[in-house]
Symmetry: C2
Subunit: 369 residues, 2 copies
């Protein structure tokens, strides 16, 4: 029995709902994963995550291997024990963070400087697997080579092929039986490279597939075409995870194309800057129009923040730089995003995803006009 | 029927327990009031305050009158409605904050500069009452003149007498029927001045009495003697509030002398610097000895933080400057302080306060040795 399985429970066009089963419980897909960069989702606690309905969260191998270190976390019961979170966890491989630090890459691995103390770190695909086996998430990701967009086709191709070779080495290294390893599809926005990457990654036989290298500045059209291209080459019975995607339009586009899992720092990062996500259009709460507004951020939202506090109060907290403001808006923005994805799943099950998507877009359009 | 009443439910020597009744419910005394400077206790939310058992909180008139302003708060349902807190609230008068800004004081009032925009603000005792009537706490405080210690006796005497005249003007101005106004005893650490201030303030007939101008650098011996002196002149059937006191030894000393109410920023301020209060001695969690410590901050504590997270995890969050660390340690330190005061009340009711106090001190001594 594999550590992680996925089966579809309903389809609507290319979109699908499903159950992701892990040794820490079942996740309904489509699923949004809040990002706990350093074993903590910024400004919120584990019980806040349970309250907003998060069924799986993501944490960052890159940060955790440097601080507090994978061996320490392993000694303290792995990430689940360390954080006090007993639902599923996925860790990224560190690829995305490392490649934002312009590392030296050779066939063996990547060499980069620690953001914490400037020390030189060498990470190979095998070591990325080893670190994640010690961290103990339910799902680990292979170390991939991320290329910024736009980039010359030759570079995209070279690094896509390197990612394939690293994926094979990662699979050979992975032994932990209560953990799944997902491959990552690269290839930029060149359709033939994307297709080749998906086909060859699928052929390696992973338990699931990340689609990486998107949401890095390309157009929505390019992103959507790249998702279509990748998904066409991936097996129907394995979960598909679009890495780094979390805005309303992007989530709806990807779900309609058959994506199952997402992660993004946007909901919590925007919250810390006072921006509230809302069904009637996102807005910054630090505007004078909300000074005396005693209504909640979103009257239809069931989150702790909307149940207890007004826009006027939240605006005051944001302006006074009160720490609780960051938590309260983060809770709301996570609730908004988790609800959106969950309601999309309901719509798929009812065969009316297209109606749901045009309703969501219509309301946001009306609200912001 | 007065807006706020207090009656004793048990005594043990000079110490007493009691019920403080307000239009937002009953508070058991002795009671510690967490400080919500800007209508928010730093880093925590109202439901966290309920979870740790806070029955009454304090907020600062000085900050609220400047941001967001008393009229706005009045329009939004007063402080209770604005914050989403329906238990009792006490506001200070702004005296302590204003006098830390070296204001120009004349008989009419105090002139000082706003910390927010540098504008010049004039505050009279009547205006301090007016602002607090608009803010709508259950208990308002008179505007007093705080004198730093040590100060020349002549200055202490002059300003103590001015505080008495301001107290009388404040009482004359106060009309809100669902709100009580408390007087404030000043007089530094000069016993005769303290006694005169207490006697004359009591004679004005307030619903309760703050004891101000202590915990400002004087010795514990001077503070305790000043409390004894003041309490001897105050009526037995009115609540006594020691302003700005919140450390373990100070609370125990004051409770043994017959104090009923306290406020202090120390528990939450220390938390934001990584310091944990504990029955076995306070400690900074950012020490290498806690790096792999999977035990809670205090195994006997029932707070959310101790129930869910280890010292190793909290140390990691503090070191990474994660916002949630401030909330989690603030919750614990508030729980510690509220439990201490509440357990002292139980001990009074059982006639064994002296045993309780020596037990608490003994454990803290042993733990820190």
């Amino acid at each position: 029995m594999p550590a992680v399985t996925w089966n579809s429970t309903a389809t609507d066009g290319k979109a699908r709902t499903g159950w992701l089963r892990t040794s820490h419980g079942r996740v309904q897909t489509p699923a949004f994963m809040p990002v706990g960069t350093r074993a903590a989702v910024k400004a919120v606690d584990t019980d806040d995550l349970i309250a907003v309905g998060a069924e799986i969260i993501l944490s960052n191998t890159y940060h955790l291997m440097l601080r507090p270190g994978a061996d320490l976390i392993a000694d303290l019961g792995g990430l689940h024990g360390f954080m006090g979170w007993d639902r599923p966890i996925l860790t990224d491989s560190g690829g995305f963070q490392i490649f934002s630090l312009t590392p030296k890459v050779d066939e063996q691995g990547a060499t980069f400087k620690s953001i914490y103390d400037g020390s030189k770190i060498h990470l190979t695909p095998e070591e990325a697997v080893g670190v994640q086996q010690r961290l103990g998430p339910d799902i680990a990701m292979v170390l991939d080579v991320c290329v910024g967009l736009p980039s010359p086709r030759e570079l995209v191709e070279t690094e896509m092929r390197r990612t394939l070779r690293w994926a094979e080495r990662s699979l050979g290294e992975h032994t932990r039986e209560d953990q799944a390893l997902f491959g990552i599809v690269q290839g930029g926005i060149d359709d033939d490279l994307r297709a080749e990457s998906a086909r060859e990654t699928a052929a390696l036989g992973f338990a699931g597939f990340g689609v990486g290298g998107l949401s890095v500045g390309e157009s929505a059209e390019d992103r959507n075409r790249s998702l279509d291209t990748a998904f066409a080459e991936l097996p129907d019975d394995k979960p598909r995870y679009v890495m780094g995607l979390g805005d309303t339009d992007g989530l709806l586009d990807a779900i309609a194309r058959g994506a199952d899992m997402f992660d993004c720092v946007i909901p919590t990062r925007l919250a810390r800057h006072g921006k509230a996500l809302s069904a009637t259009g996102d807005f910054n709460i630090n505007q004078v129009r909300y000074e005396a507004d005693d209504g909640p951020v979103d009257p239809d939202c069931g989150c702790h923040t909307c149940a207890n506090h007004s826009k006027a109060y939240l605006r005051h907290l944001i302006r006074m730089n009160e720490l609780s403001a960051h938590r309260l808006l983060s809770i709301h923005n996570l609730q908004y995003t988790l609800d959106l994805v969950s309601l999309a799943g309901d719509a798929i099950a009812q065969g009316r995803l297209d109606v749901f998507i045009s309703d969501v877009r219509g309301k946001r359009q009306d609200g912001s006009s």
